[in-house]
Amino acid sequence: MDTGDFRAWVRESSRLITEQAGELTELDAAIGDGDHGINLRRGFQAAVEMLDDAEANTPGTVLTTVGRGLISKTGGASGPLYGTAFRQAGKSLGDVTDVDAARLGGALEAAFNGIQQLGAAREGDKTILDALGPAVTAYQVAVEKGGDLAAATRAAAEAADRGRHETGPMLARKGRASYLGERSIGHEDPGATSTALILNALATVAAGEAS
């Protein structure tokens, strides 16, 4: 994937999140405070605008620019968490101009580690990590089996979708949903859902199918 592909990933993510902002907000209303879709839509739209203005000429700078945009415009917990994820992923790419499957895997892992460290959460806590963790693993397995970038990102997106659905029966232990205790059970996590959208956007772009 080159710089143009990474820009396309951000635009596709923004498109999906804008399209599904209502659904994300409804999921959040069930177990949080009902602003996840609104916030993330605002953050991604700002990130796309910042990217249009920025001279981001490597995949790494595209992602760090998006990370800064998300941190400075999103608010809530999702701004710092997603912002850190994109920044760490961008940093891990260094100066390379063409990202291969192995390097993208490293970037996804860096994103996971960034979120885990900042949010002090683990898989099973009903958070973003419950979609991102399985996605990173599925991605790496696909690469080890000789899959190319398109195959690996597709595997990651599918694992994120499964991970998102598996947050339904979980008990929330982080964020505002944790205050619900038992009442958080039965609702899918909005953060895991938005992560699945972003990884689906990645798979779409990697397959050369972005509009």
Binding site: D33, D35, R42, I71, G75, R176
Partner: protein
């Protein structure tokens, strides 16, 4: 939903324009989104912030004897680090800045990032985390206790300490002491409505109340049928007392959540006073009114702080802000 707004996305900006017009002695920075006074040379700067929709918190507490700056986030959404950094720089009088943060994941993360950025710029920042809400258990299974009404006590008392010349470490220590001595419990009679969604934040039956509700409508300990103000106050105070035994001199706030008339808050205050007297505690200071609200949620929160003579003296220190003023 019926609200006095122009457009759902423009509520915060329009409100800040109105705030600026109403309080010309304060500065409202619409670009970076903060309300401030100062800086005051040599004084520790006090910055607070959080999601909007809790007015008068925090902008209403900017002024002499209290905060130097407040950062309003979008409704129920924490402010962003850029905002907090701009406010921190604006009120740095050369002796560092204290961040007063309510314990919500978003607030904590954004303030943490801003503090790191300010530190990179050479401004020392200390943080006081407010987590006074006894309705949720502080365990590894939650994000910790929420910060609610105790925030008003912390901001007022630290504000006085800073005004009297406390250095950064001393101001932070006073803030932590007030937090440790404060406990809150909230009760909702109806839900709030966020302008952007236009829907109630949670569902509550016509005769149901949520005992232990959070200031964003997060659920508390249990739901029950509506009962008398006396019983509701007793439930809240029992919960507080079980966590922090109430005796000696106490300060009490009976706070409206936005949709409850003052007359009902006085009814609750009477019950609170009766309960405390019956348990041998003496109310030495009080607040009754809307200080930390949740849009139009009906209900109230009760906050109790165990006082010392030093803290009472700081509470009595003059204050001049839009929402709290005396002695000056």
């Amino acid at each position: 939903m019926k609200k006095l707004i122009n457009a759902p996305d423009g509520v915060l900006t329009d409100a800040l324009i109105g705030f600026a017009a109403a309080y010309p002695d304060l500065t409202v920075n619409l670009e970076d989104r903060y309300i401030s006074r100062g800086p005051t040379a040599g004084k520790v700067g006090l910055v607070s912030g959080g999601g909007s929709g809790h007015e008068p918190l925090h902008g209403g507490f900017v002024g002499y004897g209290m905060l130097d700056a407040a950062c309003p986030g979008e409704i129920f959404t924490s402010p962003v680090p850029d905002q907090l950094l701009a406010a921190t720089n604006a009120v740095d009088g050369g002796n560092g800045v204290l961040h007063i943060v309510k314990n919500y994941t978003g607030d904590v993360l954004n303030f943490q990032m801003a503090a790191e950025l300010a530190g990179d710029d050479g401004t020392p920042v200390e943080t006081v985390l407010v987590n006074d809400d006894v309705a949720v258990e502080n365990s590894t299974y939650t994000a910790g206790r929420r910060g609610t009404g105790g925030t008003v006590f912390v901001e007022k008392i630290v504000g006085a300490a800073a005004e009297r010349g406390a250095d950064l470490a001393a101001a932070a220590a006073v803030g932590r002491e007030v937090n440790e001595r404060s406990r809150s419990f909230g009760v909702a009679l109806s839900a709030n409505v966020i302008p952007a969604t236009g829907k109630p934040g949670f569902e509550l039956g016509d005769t149901e109340i949520e005992l232990g509700v959070g200031i964003h409508g997060e659920p508390g300990r249990q739901r029950g049928p509506i009962t008398t103000a006396r019983e509701i106050a007793g439930f809240a105070l029992d919960a507080i007392h079980a966590d922090m035994p109430l005796s000696g001199d106490v300060m009490v706030m009976v706070n409206g959540l936005g949709g409850t008339p003052l007359i009902e808050l006085y009814v609750v205050y009477a019950a609170v006073a009766e309960w405390l007297e019956g348990h041998g505690a003496t109310i030495t200071r009080n607040l009754v009114g809307n200080y930390i609200t949740s849009l139009e949620m009906a209900g109230c929160s009760i906050t109790v702080a165990r006082m010392t003579p030093d803290l009472t003296e700081l509470w009595d220190f003059p204050v001049q802000t839009p929402a709290l003023r005396w002695g000056r």
